[in-house]
């Protein structure tokens, strides 16, 4: 059952700060292209998905249950990182400069006892090399976090782009 954030129990103030600090750290690592420690923040049973949003005349905006822009495990996420490191990922040569803005954070207990669910509005800007174009991605991001020592692991990330037509030549960055 998907967690209903509206009725779930909000976390206490200290946990909220912990989650916020964790997500800011995660954004910093990915924007700094410090990908190895960034990968360490994800659980081995990771489900990292960017579902497609479709406007249907009979039922409004639908977040498609199967169709997506990306659907990665920890292993395929690691492959994306390794691929960039080969220097043969032409869409990231020169590499993107990204900026992840993580805001409007809401954190609730669950769905499992050792888990927290964090929903944030995320804005990502992306620039590349000498190009003057800057791409912008706005998304509704829902993370399921599991306690790992004094930090967390991201078990599930649902990165739902606002647009059903991404305004980008590719989605070669991380969300």
């Amino acid at each position: 059952m998907p967690l209903d954030l509206a009725t779930a129990q909000p976390v206490d103030e200290s946990t909220l700060r912990d989650v916020e600090r964790f997500l800011f750290r995660e954004a910093e690592l990915v924007d700094d292209r410090n990908f190895e420690p960034w990968l360490d923040l994800f659980a081995d049973d990771l489900d990292y998905r960017g579902p497609i949003r479709v406007w249907r005349g009979d039922s409004g905006y639908q977040i498609d249950p199967v169709a997506c822009y990306f659907s990665d495990t920890k292993q395929t996420l690691r492959i994306r990182v390794q691929r960039i490191a080969t220097g043969l990922a032409w869409a990231e040569s020169p590499p993107s400069v990204t900026r992840h803005f993580v805001s409007n954070l809401r954190v609730v207990e669950g769905p499992d006892a050792d888990q927290r669910t964090a929903r944030a509005n995320v804005l990502i800007t992306r620039s590349r090399g000498p190009s003057q174009l800057q791409e912008t991605f706005a998304l509704d991001r829902i993370d399921t976090l599991r306690r790992a020592g004094d930090s967390f692991h991201i078990v599930r990330r649902l990165a739902i782009l606002d647009s059903s037509m991404p305004s980008a030549q590719n989605l070669a960055i991380f969300f």
Partner: protein, 453 residues
């Protein structure tokens, strides 16, 4: 009085293009030029069949998807009578867009301007103020939604702007033999398509999809370095390049010596394919590692083995790709993943995940391709490229495989420009107002190039 009409930019390019192609070359401006685009939207897209949707996207009466048809939006709907139609999404009353959705199910469509209402068969069924405004005398039968011609092959729905176009079967001209590799066993699309806009000319994408095995070990070199390919760079070139002369359709099939027949297809899928393929299809397809095909002008079909994790057992995915031109140098790409209707949920999900890891806007292969295609497109529109011509001479002396079991002309190896010459020759024939009629009326000029005799 003698009047001399100056040769237009498009006519000039066309003349240069035909001369260049006789020398197995193509002028660079064909990859991105506004004058060429003005001509091709009328003479190529105005006269070709283009892919719209898969029947499994609209299984129920009233289901619809909104799709581009050669620059115009159409509502592809299954009417209450069960028939599939492609109706222009333009109100015949004042030209407003009738349906603003991507998909849905509806008995009727109502225009938001003056409120004319059409049923899902395109009939005008409601006109506000019929008595007060029209004195009850407007004949509704005169004002249905305008309908495009449609045709289908094994679930693929195509549309055409030209009501006089030859039927789809004639247009495909035997290429159905090869399309079956993607459409067997009975397939459906998995979820709605991915779509996104990139600064790439449709012909750059289409030419590559006509069967470019040459770029694979370089553009996608990461795949070798991460251990992704079940073949090596050394064997990558082997296989067949087949084209339908004068029609622009072609397929490249890479094969790896010693590869297990139909490898990475699960046994039940192989059995289902074997039951449906002809012996000729079976003998060829069992050896095809990768199959990359083009239905002229802008529909690509691709089947590829992929393990999501290198060196682990993988799967096969089949994808439909549409390069919908928005103008010269810009396309809206659509991708669908085909999965067997009979397969398990786990298998279908695995196929989709392999597909989306490789293709679509985040796809590892797609990213590499489009990065190159963006540069090719941009530079083709610069003054530096004005007088450049690109070579299409690979395989000019290629061996024609007379004993090949499939239709069309087959050459080896898989890396070959013969299918590209066929693509460009067909394209230039359309641009010259000479769309294909019958191959028998033509003679082969160079391998891949038919000329009127």
């Amino acid at each position: 009085m003698l009047s001399v009409t100056p040769e237009s930019r498009a006519e000039q390019l066309l003349r240069k293009g035909r001369a260049a192609l006789d020398n197995a070359r193509i002028p660079a401006p064909f990859y991105n030029n506004p004058a060429v685009w003005e001509l091709e939207r009328e003479r190529v897209f105005g006269r070709a069949w283009t892919f719209l949707a898969h029947e499994s996207e609209i299984p129920n009466r009233g289901d619809y998807v909104v799709r581009p048809l050669a620059g115009s939006p159409v509502i592809v709907a299954r009417g209450d009578d069960g028939e599939v139609r492609a109706m222009f999404n333009i109100c015949p009353h004042r030209g407003n867009q009738i349906c603003r959705d991507e998909s849905g199910n509806a008995p009727r469509f109502k225009c938001s301007y003056h409120g004319w209402v059409y049923n899902n068969k395109g009939d005008l069924v409601g006109v506000p103020q019929m008595r007060e405004g029209y004195n009850g005398q407007l004949d509704k039968a005169d004002w249905p939604l305008r309908e495009a011609k449609t045709g289908s092959y094994k679930g693929l729905i195509f549309g055409a702007l030209d009501p006089a176009i030859p039927n789809l079967e004639d247009y495909l001209a035997g290429f159905q033999f090869y399309m079956d590799i993607y459409l067997t066993p009975d397939m459906e699309v998995y979820g709605p398509p991915n779509r996104w806009i990139i600064d790439v000319d449709w012909k750059v994408q289409s030419e590559n999809s006509a069967g470019d095995g040459y770029h694979t070990p370089i553009t996608h070199e990461f795949g070798f370095s991460l251990g992704y390919y079940p073949s090596s760079a050394a064997t990558q070139s082997q296989g067949w390049a087949v084209h339908i002369p004068g029609r622009g359709h072609s397929i490249g099939m890479g094969r790896t010596p010693g590869m297990d027949p139909f490898f990475w297809y699960p046994p039940e899928i192989v059995d289902a394919m074997a039951a449906e393929f002809t012996p000729e299809q079976y003998s060829i397809f069992k050896e095809a590692r990768v199959s990359v095909g083009l239905v002229f002008p802008n529909m690509s079909l691709l089947c590829q083995p992929l393990s999501r994790i290198p060196n682990e057992a993988g799967t096969r995915f089949s994808t439909i790709r549409l390069f919908n031109p928005l103008r010269n140098g810009r396309i809206e790409t659509w991708t669908w993943c085909l999965v067997p209707k009979s397969a398990s949920a786990e298998y279908r999900d695995e196929v989709y995940r392999a597909h989306v890891l490789a293709f679509g806007p985040s796809g590892l292969f797609e990213q590499d391709d489009s990065e190159n295609f963006i540069h090719v497109t941009r530079l083709a529109g610069t003054p530096a490229a004005e007088d450049m011509e690109f070579p299409l001479e690979m395989g000019l002396n290629a061996k024609i495989e007379e004993d090949f079991a499939g239709p069309g002309v087959c050459v080896t190896p898989y890396i070959n420009d013969t299918s590209f010459r066929n693509f460009w020759a067909t394209y230039l024939n359309y641009l010259s107002d000479d769309p294909p009629t019958s191959a028998s009326e033509h003679t082969v000029c160079l391998p891949g190039i038919l000329r009127a005799s």
